[in-house]
């Protein structure tokens, strides 16, 4: 068991929708794999592309950015801007030869606890299928 590889996935999620959705999954006791660690920000607009790149150079196997649905952002349009940046990061990842599937952006509202569980399950599966981040060996 101990030497079985488990992916390290970083989740950066917004306080108002996805974090609340994740909490809802918790109070509903919806079970999902434990391979994700959450960093809370107020809005996905806060997510600097450097955060994602930093995570990958640190050896993260996957990154999930999750915010409100379009049109539902607590700050009007932060999620649009966040999503736009994620597209940019995805193409950057492709350029350096890292699978862009390792980065996912999803939209989970505060009432979508079940969806959150599904998203995590899905991300964990995608990343597990991709295997360890090749940059991990270079990580400090």
């Amino acid at each position: 068991m101990a030497d079985e590889w488990k992916p390290q996935i970083m989740g950066i999620i917004c306080n108002w929708c996805s974090y609340a959705g994740a909490d809802l999954a918790g109070s509903a006791r919806t079970q999902y794999p434990p391979d994700i660690r959450i960093i809370r920000v107020m809005c996905t607009g806060r997510v600097d592309p450097l955060f994602i790149l930093k995570a990958f150079t640190d050896g993260a196997d996957g990154v999930l950015v999750s915010g409100c649905h379009f049109g539902d952002c607590h700050y009007l349009e932060g999620n649009y801007k966040g999503a736009k940046r994620m597209f940019m990061v995805k193409s950057l990842l492709k350029n350096i030869g890292l699978e862009d599937k390792r980065l996912r952006m999803t939209f989970v509202s505060a009432s979508e606890g079940a969806k959150w569980a599904k998203v995590v399950e899905d991300v964990v599966k995608t990343v597990t299928d991709l295997g360890p981040n090749p940059l991990k060996e270079l990580a400090p």
């Binding site: 999954a25 918790g26 079970q31 794999p33 450097l50 995570a55 700050y75 009007l76 990580a139």
Partner: protein
């Protein structure tokens, strides 16, 4: 590359932050000396909560505590059964003093639940409350990995490591206090909006009551009787309508819509579109210098108007003119012109004469008001039940909705209260009520939820026809009768005793006999285990309800979320059903989810009470998550200025350089600017780049394993 750059940034920012933090301080914050604590080596205290067995049941607490002790910067670690209890909080207070801590981490439930609790404890221990960070090991830990002790324990360890990394870098912050405008707004003037507005007004608060229709009263004014007391709906509603019309503190705006909302709790700037109703109120007339003029509701105009249209208040079953009132008891009693059908013949203007109440050239007006808090009470519409084609609504004339039934049975309705079949005007002798029409429906066509009041009003309908039509036989096709309210079950008993036949089975389809226009119902009597075909004279569909059409537009203006089924999302379904995630905005009535009248009124009173609190307090604290400009780094490129959705950023000249400046009152702390500053010159308080980078590093390369 990226990594190096970030590292450098992290290092340089660390040095600069004290300056930034100092410059960010307002005069109001003398108590805490930021630089003093900043320079101290971080000493973090970690407290792990068992939450009874909620956490301890799936997480190895002693193991996690040992691990926490081994983390850098951790000076103290402890655990307790219930950290949120008084003894739990005392532990934090004591530990801060005894161990000279600079930061606190509590690993427990969600920060959305107990962050305020532990911030208070941190403050009581003598630290700035924003030196607290929470690790969520329950909602996003033990509860979602209940059967994976190892996984949940590992995750808890990581969560604490990440939280400690942030706590080590947290700074003193001082929340800003802003005054609250002594006024409130209620959107929607149905029974919920009216009740909320009356409560606010009676509490001495100036209240703007906005209604899109020409009259207040909402859905309740369309109902005939109310269950289970059989009070006449209009009789109990109209006194309230009159009160609203008269209340000094209520500024009632009918034919009005919210056009735009700016600002934040305490200071909402709301633009209202007052739609041209084509008719002047006496007050408006007086303002225009027409003495003794304006509409007095005499109705002369209506008499001469040549245009006939269906009246939506009567569900289209009664005519109205192009200049109209919905019904005789409207408040305000002012006529309204339907611009879509008015032919501007001018007959009404003529007959109105000296009152000069009618202005066929009237234009919409935009009005700006400032309010401290707002309540949304936008109500519901009936689900378009014709989408469930099996029941033939809009295809067969004698299939009606419950709301149409209310008008047909109502004494002031199109038939004077005589229930008749739309096809031939004959009094029906056999009437079938189809419950759960479009509710509890998972096909994607109807609504998955229970509409909550259909059972009871259908019982009431059955009673009404038994009362009015001798020899009538009501059949109630139901799946479950949900009579959960006070005196509801007793009402069910009464209606059964009166002779309504309860058929336990959902109706599969309705067919029409083209000659008699009678309806043939196919259902199963599931209790007899027998398919039944029943010929009836009339079918009443207890159609599902859905949020009113404009709800979505309005909620977006106020920044309120909605749940999956479209109803507006409360801050907490159990403990904060009237609040929303937008501070200062509250929900009343059915817009939050189906409610009967007592529940609606209760929720309206709750919302009014909640909305009046900040107003009576006079000031509110805003979380100090503002953006700050690190001027040394700012190149004045201005990219952030356009990113800000609140126009809080601007470029200014300072010491011969162009730099960005934040207007704190406008900044809501989303961090969108900080997410894309190419020079890393924006410091998002409490979510600063070095803090987040430290969290990332702690997660991925800080692990001891």
């Amino acid at each position: 590359m990226a990594e190096k750059k970030t590292k450098k940034e992290t290092a340089s920012k660390k040095k600069e932050t004290p300056k930034a933090a100092v410059s960010a301080k307002t005069e109001k914050a003398p108590a805490v000396k930021a630089p003093a604590t900043e320079q101290k080596k971080a000493r973090v205290g970690v407290f792990i909560c068992h939450c009874g067995t909620n956490i301890a049941g799936s997480v190895d607490i002693p193991d996690v505590q040992e691990y926490a002790k081994s983390l850098p910067n951790v000076a103290f670690a402890d655990n307790y059964q219930y950290m949120c209890s008084t003894p739990g909080q005392s532990k934090i207070i004591a530990a801060i003093k005894e161990n000279d801590l600079t930061g606190i981490v509590v690993a427990a439930c969600s920060p959305r639940l107990h962050e305020p609790t532990f911030r208070t404890a941190t403050k009581e221990g003598g630290l700035n409350p924003f030196r607290f960070e929470m690790a969520n090991i329950r909602e996003q830990g033990s509860w979602v990995h209940m059967h994976d002790r190892e996984g949940a324990t590992d995750k808890a360890k990581d969560a604490i490591r990440i939280a400690v990394a942030k706590a080590s870098l947290l700074q003193d912050l001082v929340p800003k206090t802003v005054p609250v405008e002594h006024a409130a707004m209620v959107v929607g003037a149905g029974i919920a909006g009216m009740q909320a507005a009356l409560d606010l007004a009676n509490a001495g608060i100036k209240t703007y009551l906005i209604e899109k229709n020409p009259t207040i009263g909402g859905r309740m004014s369309q109902l005939d009787k109310t269950f289970p007391t059989l009070d006449c709906s209009q009789c109990i509603l109209t006194p309230k309508m009159v009160d609203v019309g008269r209340a000094e503190n209520i500024d009632l705006m009918t034919c009005a819509e919210v056009e735009n909302v700016e600002g934040y709790i305490g200071n909402f700037d709301v633009t209202i579109r007052r739609k041209a109703r084509g008719v002047l109120t006496p007050a408006e007339a007086e303002a225009k210098g027409i003495v003794g003029g304006g509409c007095n509701g005499c109705g002369d105009c209506e008499a001469v108007c040549p245009v006939i249209k269906p009246n939506p208040f009567e569900m289209g079953m009664k005519p109205r003119k192009a200049i109209y009132i919905y019904h005789p008891q409207v408040v305000p009693l002012i006529y309204t012109i339907d611009w879509d059908s008015c032919i501007k013949c001018g007959l009404c203007v003529e007959v109105c004469g000296e009152k000069k109440a009618i202005d066929l050239e009237m234009k919409d007006e935009l009005v700006k008001v400032k309010v401290g808090t707002a309540i949304l009470a936008t109500g519901y519409d009936l689900f378009p039940i014709e989408k469930k084609e099996e029941w033939g609504y809009k295809k067969y004339e004698n299939v009606v909705t419950s709301l149409e039934f209310e008008r047909l049975i109502c004494a002031s309705g199109p038939t004077g209260g005589h229930l008749v079949r739309p096809s031939d005007g004959v009094t029906p002798k056999k009437v079938a009520f189809l419950l759960c029409a479009g509710s509890r429906d998972n096909t994607g066509v109807g609504k998955p939820y229970c509409s909550r009041f259909c059972c009871m009003y259908s019982l009431k309908h059955a009673h009404q026809i038994i009362e009015k039509i001798p020899g009538v036989q009501p059949y109630i096709f139901y799946m479950d009768i949900r009579s959960f309210g006070k005196m509801y079950e007793e009402f069910y008993y009464r209606i059964q005793d009166e002779g309504a036949k309860f058929m336990r089975g959902r109706v599969a389809n309705v067919l029409e006999d083209p000659d008699t226009k009678n309806l043939l119902i196919n259902a199963e009597d599931t209790l007899l285990n027998r398919p039944i075909k029943l010929e009836v004279d009339m079918v009443v569909l207890a159609a599902a309800v859905e949020p009113a059409a404009e709800t979505d537009r309005t909620r977006k203006l106020f920044g309120v979320s909605r749940s999956m089924d479209g109803w507006l999302l409360e801050a907490h379904p159990k403990l904060n059903p009237c609040g929303t995630t937008t501070a200062g905005v509250f929900l009343a009535g059915v817009c939050q989810g189906p409610k009967d009248i007592p529940d609606t009124v209760a929720s309206a009173e709750g919302a009014a009470s909640a909305a009046s609190i900040p107003i009576h307090k006079g000031e509110v604290e805003l979380e100090p998550y503002f953006a700050q400009c690190i001027e040394e780094k700012c190149a004045g490129c201005g990219m952030c200025v356009n990113l800000c959705p609140y126009q809080a950023l601007s470029l200014v000249e300072k010491e011969g350089r162009t730099v960005m400046q934040v207007t704190e009152a406008k900044c809501k702390g989303c961090g969108t600017c900080g997410g894309f500053c190419p020079g890393g010159a924006i410091w998002m308080q409490h979510f600063a780049t070095p803090q987040i980078i430290a969290q990332i590093d702690a997660f991925l390369i800080g692990g001891a394993k």
